[in-house]
Point group: C2
DNA sequence: ATTATCTATAGATCTATAGATAATGC
DNA sequence: ATTATCTATAGATCTATAGATAATGC
């Protein structure tokens, strides 16, 4: 199982990913159906394609990455890719959705927690921290894909953008609720908080980002909105833990 | 004169751009040397190429933009581009340098001001505000080019990256000086502040960003570093104005 | 029989160069 | 004579498809 697959399994249990994972498990059981590779076989082809594509898209962009590059890195021939994906853009789409979906699901749980009477500042802190932790531990700094120009523009990714927008509007709504500052509306609050959360992306390009940095960034989201140290401490203390929300220990 | 040329003229007077601008002025004097275009001639070809490329690179990335697209938008034939630029990547390089250079020069002036005894928090505020104002008023949200994956990776742009790094290290140095928070080193401070400044980029994708938002973002850079409202007000009051630094009224 | 891979390639690009052409300037 | 443009194209891609091949499974 590749790093990517393990990551997905961790966050996506019980979601859309199940079908894929079940198929993977089956494939592992029976031995080697189909023509063997020219090179040696090292794992699950589909995951290897996604993994290779992630690395290359992040480094070189979509247009700068050819199907041949991807195939080479995955250890297969270029044409074999099309057995798994109908088009190059579909690989990127799957990478994007796999990455944003767990963030969004965490967001929805925290949102529900707030609707049930939870403190909005605590919810904002919990959401930011959860998101930062995903971005900093995801394989290959994959969130760098979010900001590819093609993803922003191309119609092929509208579905993905809708998921992102939902997350950002949670940030905006919570942010506008808790800020004591005049002049910060939902749009601005959402952009500032989201942008701070995503500071993990450039930070990771220079090396690993630890959990202490994650907490500083998450608190920074409250600071930038003008909360004073007492309010921040209270929010941190009141924030729900991952476990208390998921219900899986 | 295109929007891009006017922008450059405004910020770059006295810099490398002078040569280009002088050439432009000359060209304007004598009438129409060289073979006329198939379409009508609308302005300075070189600037039109840069302008067209900026729009397309931002929207579609480097790999997603062909020389034919650029030429078409600039109103010339594809091959004519090569009279002005030896390669596609050179167009992007010039766009990048034109945009970061004025920010960096403002940064150096403010840095000098601080070395001469200016308050570091005030310097940080002034630098952030100046930078945000450039990014929000530059033509075509051109700062979106900074984050193209090719620019991060390709050796062709190392020179540009050095300029960016210098700016970020100013942020980091000032930030680490002024923050009362433990656990924020230069690297983290630089990344957080730079990232906040660049929140203009996504904000502009949804519409114009006004000067009030710019001030909120610049103050946000101090807030995220843990400065209290009194310290922020003091920094804003003590910040040097653009005019006091440039010496050109 | 089914599946995953392979080889080979059609068709559509795309970048950059070569060399012709149509203006102005001396 | 100089310059900026044009047309045409070589050469090098790149994506996606067609169809052969080599394994397992029934």
């Amino acid at each position: 199982m590749t790093e990517l697959a393990a990551y997905s399994a961790c966050w996506e249990a019980g979601s859309v990913m199940d079908g894929i994972l079940r198929r993977v498990a089956q494939t592992t059981k029976r031995r080697n159906p189909g023509r063997p590779r020219a090179d040696e076989v090292t794992g699950e082809t589909r995951e290897e394609i996604l993994d290779a594509a992630a690395v290359l898209f992040i480094k070189q962009g979509l247009g700068g990455t050819t199907t041949r590059h991807i195939a080479e890195r995955a250890g297969i021939r270029q044409a074999t890719m099309y057995h798994y994906f109908a088009a190059k853009a579909d690989i990127l789409l799957e990478l994007l959705e796999r990455t944003v979906r767990p963030s969004l699901e965490a967001g929805r749980r925290i949102w529900q927690w707030m609707l049930d009477g939870g403190d909005p500042a605590a919810a904002l802190y919990a959401l930011a921290l959860s998101d930062v932790n995903m971005l900093r531990t995801a394989p290959h700094n994959i969130a760098a894909l979010y900001i590819l120009p093609e993803v922003r523009a191309d119609e092929h990714y509208t579905q993905f953008r809708a998921l992102r927008d939902e997350l950002q509007s949670m940030y905006g709504d919570l942010g506008a609720q808790v800020t004591p500052l005049p002049g910060i509306n939902e749009e601005l609050a959402g952009a500032l908080v989201m942008q701070l959360v995503e500071s993990v992306i450039p930070l990771r390009q220079d090396g690993d980002v630890g959990p202490e940095a994650a907490r500083i960034i998450a608190k920074g989201c409250l600071r930038v909105l003008g909360l004073d140290p007492a309010a921040i401490a209270a929010a941190v203390a009141a924030a729900p833990s991952e476990e208390s929300l998921t219900g899986r220990v």
